[in-house]
Structure formats: structure tokens, C-alpha cells
């Protein structure tokens, strides 16, 4: 439709939005941009194009193949749905930040070289941090700073890797890397930070719950999944990723069980679900890579629905903690939000007929085909924990819950604005469509799919797992819901407490030591400094010491140098030079003779 890289459609669009007068027109343009981008995507042939000469290198802004197209499709689809959800926001800056973020992610997806990859990678971090800051609370300000610091650090590591890679190979091509080189290790590290792989993940559950209600919906989709894309592109089949991914999957689930903040709980499930994808990328088989792509696709939709649902609850109640919501029977006031949320919850829990079932099972099966018993069991266990937290604990706590008499009223609770409901509804609809007709998704995957999710044994085994998780939940429901408001320690402790301690150590003990050293040497250094300006004073000091006259040293030194004080008749100079010449002659004759 328009011969422009999709990244620039969004970026130019983002910059145009604030220039447009009239709110309706602005909204129309904001919704039109994803449509134009989608039309462009559908007409983009596979291949490599949009090459730009930059210095001595050739940048590639359009490396289009099945893998990049798959991610681009879902990014554009979700940007449209999220924008519908966010369209009532009057602050245009939020839309600008969101579309710069989407555009730069598409830039990453189609980047065929390391320079443009890095360029878009950094815009992604810079644009997304505004989606946190627009929440305008002190906590979101600080969380945003931490988010920015972590991503700038990750970006710097990535740049270090890229520079090493370019200087050692001479090529800026963004292709599979050989992990034995230091450059590849740096690049992998930069990617892993964005993929939120523990212990580098703490920025995610720290920042996402603090973002704006609509901004966080955008954030759930792009940063981690673009990291999955670059990992699939360049580190497929890396053994390390298999284990990191499986650990991630279980790690997120365990934290989610003890979490009470509704969006932070969902954030830990992003860590967990991205774990499946990272693990699949590590497995590296065609089936596993298909699974990673399919799961990224499905995850982006249902996670957006889940964040939209919880965002709606926060919007209408002003509360974000299960302990402030349980027992108020919110389901009576917001049934539509509940139903749409549950579609997302069934999807993430891989209930048959919902989209998680057609993608997650593919990854677990790929672990089976790869003969990885421990990995298969870990992923299986993470599935149990997913249904437990997102499918049962969260909706039970938010919409139902046992009243214990201490509950206060929540005033004016009703469904969120219509556009938010439409956004959720579209997301939920996609969850069901891809769940019931998996072929629509499978057609887009990078390799041919030989996997059938809906076999009787698959379905029965899934239902067994889910139903008995429900039984376990019912038995331990009180234990799960109990507790008081608290925060959970995570690896952000290292920069929030340890880093703070280092700062305090520098500020007080280390500074005091500096003062001591300075005091001890300050007067000596002052003397040396004055002496260097006024070296004759040294002779005077010695002279006065010899004749025994009392003169203070500082007084002598403080006297400014005055040329006239030391002026002598020219004869003395001539005499001195004659004496030296005579001495020289003597020495010369001794040596020569």
C-alpha cells in the first residue's frame, strides 16, 4: 500500500498525531495507522529490501521471511486492539510513546543488520519508559527510572557485543551467532535482559504493574516477545536457553502464587510464559521453533486480554491488591469484564478450545520429541501453576472471594468505558478463533506443522491436569488467599538494596576517609604548591635558619614573588659564569690528560 517500512509508518504516525487538530480526527488517525501497517505487511513479498547505505555499511530495514512476518503480524494486530482499549485517553503523549514503541519493535523485527537492530532496540526502551512515567505517581517514576537504567545497561552490553562482532568479522549481518566468541556472549546477554530471563528479569515485575492502565497493555506485548524473536533468529538451538527457559517457566509461577498485586501477578506470568518460548528456542528443532512462534503469537493476545481485564478493574475501583478486592462480589457489577478476562485466563492455562492449548502443547511435545524428560516435567509443572494463579486465584480473589466482614464498600463500580470493552472483546475473540481453528495460526508459522493438538488423549490429559489443579486449589484456597500486604524480594534487591548500600558506603565512610586523607596532606601540599611558584623562598628559609633569625615559613612563602628583590648587579652573573667555565676547563683537562 505504502512503500515504507512498517516501523516508519508507526514512527511517522506517532509524530503526526499531536499535530492534528480535533480529538475525533486524532483518534481516527491513531486507529488508521495499524490498518495501513497491516495492509503494507500483507503486500510485502519475502526477501531482503530497503537497503540503506550508511558509512561503509549497508543497513537492511526489510529482511522479510516467515519468522519476521509472523511476529510483525501479531505486533500490528495487538497494537490495533490495544489502541482501541486506550483510545479514550486524552493525553496524546501516551499514544505517541505507544506508537514509537510499536514502530521500533517492528524495526527490530525486520532489521537485517546489527546497526539498525541496535538503533530500534534503544528507541524501544526509551519510548516504553514513558508508558510507565505517564502514570505520574512517585512509585511509577522510580520504577521507570529503574526500568530505564536496566535497559540502558542491557543496550550498552548489546552495543559492546555488536562492536566486537563487527570489528572481528567485518560484517554487520544479523545472522545466527557462534556462542564461543565473546561478542556473541555479549549480544546474548543483551537479548536475555529484554527477554526477562532470571536473574535479569526483575525489571519486568517491577515496572509493568506501575505503568498506566493502557500503557502496560502495550508493554506486555512488545519488549519480551521481540527478544524471543531475536533469540529465535540468532541463538536457536543453544543448550543454555533450554534450561534458562524451563527455570523461568517455574520461577514465574512460584512468585505468582505468593503475589497479591494483580498486575504484578500477571507480570510474573509473563516471565513464566516467555520461559516456554525461550526453552523452545533453545530446543531448536523445527517443531520447537514453530512452538515458540505460535506461543508468542497466542501469548501476546491472551496476555493483553488479561492485562486489559485487570486494568479495567483498577480503573473502576482504584484498587490493585487482591486483599482490597476480595469479598466485594465485583462479578455482579462487572460481568462482561469477568467473562472476557476468563477467556484470557483459560487461554493462558491451555484449556482446550482456547489458544494457549494449541501453542503451549506444541512446545511441551517438542520437549518430548527432543527426549528431554526433566524439561518436559518442568514445563508441565509450570502449566499447573499457571492455571492455579491466573485461572483460579486471581479471578476468585478479584471478582468473588469469601467475605469476612472487614470489607469496605467500593463506590460507583460499573463496567469500564465501551472502547475498553471492545478492545478486550476483540482480544478474547481472537483467543477463541485461534483456539478452535489452529490452522489459521499454523499456516503462518516458519516451518510446516505436523502437530495435531486436538487428539482425544491430548484433550483428556489436559482436562485431567486442569481439573485436579482445581481440586488442589479448592483444598488450599484459604492458604492461597491469606496473608497481609507485603512485597516480594526479587533480584531487583541487588540494585535497590545492595546498590543503595554501596551508595551509602561511598557517601559516608568512604567520604570521611577522603576527608581524613585530605586534611593530613592538605598543608604539605599547600607548601609544595607555593614553593613551586616561588622557589627562591627556599634559599631564604635556609638562610634564616643558618643565621638563626626567627622567621615563620608561611610568612616567607606567602610573600608574592617580586623580581626586584632578587635583582643583582650583572657583574656577579659574569663572575659566576667565569668560575663555572674555569671549573669546566679543569675537569676537561683532568679527563683528557
Amino acid at each position: 500500500m505504502i512503500n515504507l517500512p512498517p516501523a516508519f509508518i508507526y514512527i511517522i504516525g506517532a509524530l503526526l498525531i499531536p499535530l492534528i487538530r480535533g480529538r475525533r480526527l486524532q483518534q481516527a488517525v491513531a486507529l488508521l495507522i495499524p490498518v495501513i501497517a497491516m495492509a503494507t505487511l500483507l503486500q510485502m513479498p519475502q526477501g531482503v529490501y530497503w537497503q540503506v547505505q550508511f558509512l561503509d555499511y549497508e543497513l537492511i530495514l526489510g529482511r522479510v521471511d516467515r519468522l519476521s512476518l509472523l511476529f510483525a503480524y501479531i505486533f500490528v494486530i495487538i497494537s490495533f486492539i490495544s489502541m482501541i482499549y486506550a483510545i479514550h485517553i486524552k493525553e496524546m503523549g501516551q499514544h505517541v510513546a505507544a506508537y514509537l514503541y510499536v514502530g521500533s519493535t517492528l524495526g527490530v523485527v525486520f532489521a537485517g543488520d546489527l546497526f539498525s537492530l541496535f538503533f530500534f532496540w534503544e528507541i524501544m526502551a526509551a519510548a516504553s519508559v514513558f508508558l510507565i512515567w505517564y502514570n505520574k505517581t512517585p512509585t511509577s517514576l522510580m520504577a521507570g527510572f529503574r526500568y530505564a537504567m536496566v535497559h540502558l545497561f542491557g543496550g550498552a552490553i548489546l552495543l559492546g557485543g555488536i562492536v566486537m562482532q563487527v570489528s572481528s568479522t567485518g560484517s554487520i549481518a544479523f545472522n545466527p551467532f557462534d556462542l564461543s566468541t565473546l561478542a556473541a556472549k555479549f549480544i546474548l546477554f543483551g537479548f536475555l535482559i529484554n527477554a526477562a530471563v532470571p536473574p535479569l528479569h526483575a525489571w519486568l515485575p517491577d515496572a509493568y504493574p506501575e505503568g498506566t492502565i493502557t500503557g502496560s497493555v502495550f508493554m506486555t506485548a512488545f519488549t519480551t516477545k521481540s527478544a524471543v524473536y531475536v533469540l529465535a533468529r540468532s541463538f536457536a538451538g543453544t543448550e543454555l536457553l533450554v534450561w534458562l527457559g524451563a527455570i523461568m517457566a517455574v520461577y514465574g509461577v512460584i512468585y505468582a502464587i505468593i503475589e497479591k498485586d494483580i498486575r504484578r501477578l500477571l507480570s510474573y506470568h509473563i516471565v513464566s510464559q516467555v520461559g516456554y518460548m525461550v526453552c523452545a528456542v533453545g530446543l531448536g528443532s523445527e517443531m520447537a521453533l514453530n512452538g515458540a512462534g505460535a506461543h508468542a503469537f497466542c501469548h501476546i493476545i491472551y496476555k493483553a486480554v488479561l492485562f486489559m481485564g485487570m486494568g479495567a478493574v483498577i480503573q473502576v475501583t482504584g484498587r490493585r491488591n487482591i486483599l482490597d478486592l476480595k469479598g466485594r462480589n465485583l462479578y455482579r457489577q462487572m460481568p462482561i469484564t469477568l467473562v472476557l478476562y476468563m477467556v484470557g485466563a483459560f487461554s493462558i492455562s491451555a484449556v482446550p478450545l482456547f489458544n494457549g492449548f494449541v501453542s503451549k502443547t506444541m512446545i511441551v511435545a517438542a520437549a518430548g520429541y527432543g527426549h528431554r524428560p526433566v524439561i518436559e516435567l518442568m514445563l508441565h509443572l509450570a502449566s499447573v501453576g499457571t492455571f492455579l494463579s491466573v485461572g483460579l486465584k486471581l479471578p476468585w480473589g478479584v471478582w468473588f472471594g469469601k467475605a469476612d466482614g472487614s470489607e469496605d464498600e467500593i463506590a460507583n463500580v460499573k463496567e469500564p468505558p465501551l472502547n475498553m470493552q471492545i478492545g478486550m472483546g476483540l482480544g478474547a475473540l481472537l483467543c477463541v478463533i485461534t483456539g478452535i481453528f489452529p490452522q489459521t495460526l499454523y499456516k503462518l508459522l516458519p516451518y510446516e506443522v505436523h502437530f495435531h493438538p486436538y487428539t482425544p488423549s491430548h484433550v483428556v490429559a489436559s482436562l485431567q491436569l486442569l481439573l485436579l489443579t482445581l481440586a488442589g486449589f479448592c483444598l488450599y484456597i484459604d492458604k492461597l488467599m491469606a496473608g497481609k500486604k507485603s512485597i516480594s524480594l526479587d533480584t531487583d534487591w541487588f540494585y535497590r538494596i545492595f546498590g543503595w548500600t554501596v551508595l551509602l558506603f561511598c557517601r559516608y565512610p568512604l567520604n570521611r576517609f577522603r576527608n581524613l586523607v585530605q586534611l593530613a596532606f592538605a598543608d604539605k601540599i599547600q607548601i609544595a604548591a607555593r614553593l613551586s611558584k616561588h622557589p627562591y623562598a627556599l634559599l631564604e628559609i635556609v638562610w634564616y635558619a643558618i643565621i638563626g633569625q626567627e622567621k615563620s615559613m608561611t610568612e616567607l612563602l606567602q610573600r608574592p614573588y617580586n623580581e626586584k628583590d632578587y635583582r643583582v648587579p650583572i657583574g656577579i652573573g659574569v663572575c659566576a659564569s667565569l668560575i663555572f667555565l674555569f671549573l669546566y676547563a679543569l675537569i676537561y683537562m683532568r679527563v683528557a690528560g
Partner: protein, 73 residues
């Protein structure tokens, strides 16, 4: 009364899935536990309890801190 009905429905469903598990065994088992038709019944039940107990224990003894823990200035 209501809870007993719910409990009965649940038990019936578990029983039904137990039997279905024998009717539809996994045709391509990769590991020994996939040959057990009702493995997921046990895995779901004990897995969920294990996760809850372990996470709660970990939270109680180590991870959960007072909500002002990070307010350090």
C-alpha cells in the same frame, strides 16, 4: 447443601476423566510416565499442592517483606 453438590459434581468429573484416561491412552509416549493413563490426575493434584506449599513456605520464610521495605530514604 450447595457445597456437597459441588463436591459430588467434581468427584464425578474426576472419575469420568479417570476412566477416559484409560480409554484414550497416549499413542506416542516419550517417557515412562506418559504410558500411565491417569498420570496427569496425580500430577495436577500433587503438583498444585506442592507448588502452593513450597511457594508459601518460601514466601513466609524469605521472600515476603513488609510493604515499606524499599522505602529507604
Amino acid at each position: 447443601m450447595k457445597t456437597t453438590i459441588r463436591r459430588r459434581i467434581m468427584l464425578a468429573a474426576i472419575l469420568a476423566l479417570f476412566l477416559l484416561g484409560f480409554l484414550f491412552p497416549n499413542p506416542h509416549p516419550h517417557f515412562w510416565w506418559q504410558k500411565i493413563p491417569v498420570f496427569d490426575i496425580f500430577f495436577g493434584f500433587f503438583g498444585s499442592i506442592l507448588l502452593i506449599v513450597f511457594a508459601k513456605w518460601l514466601g513466609h520464610n524469605w521472600l515476603l517483606k513488609d510493604k515499606d521495605y524499599y522505602n529507604n530514604d
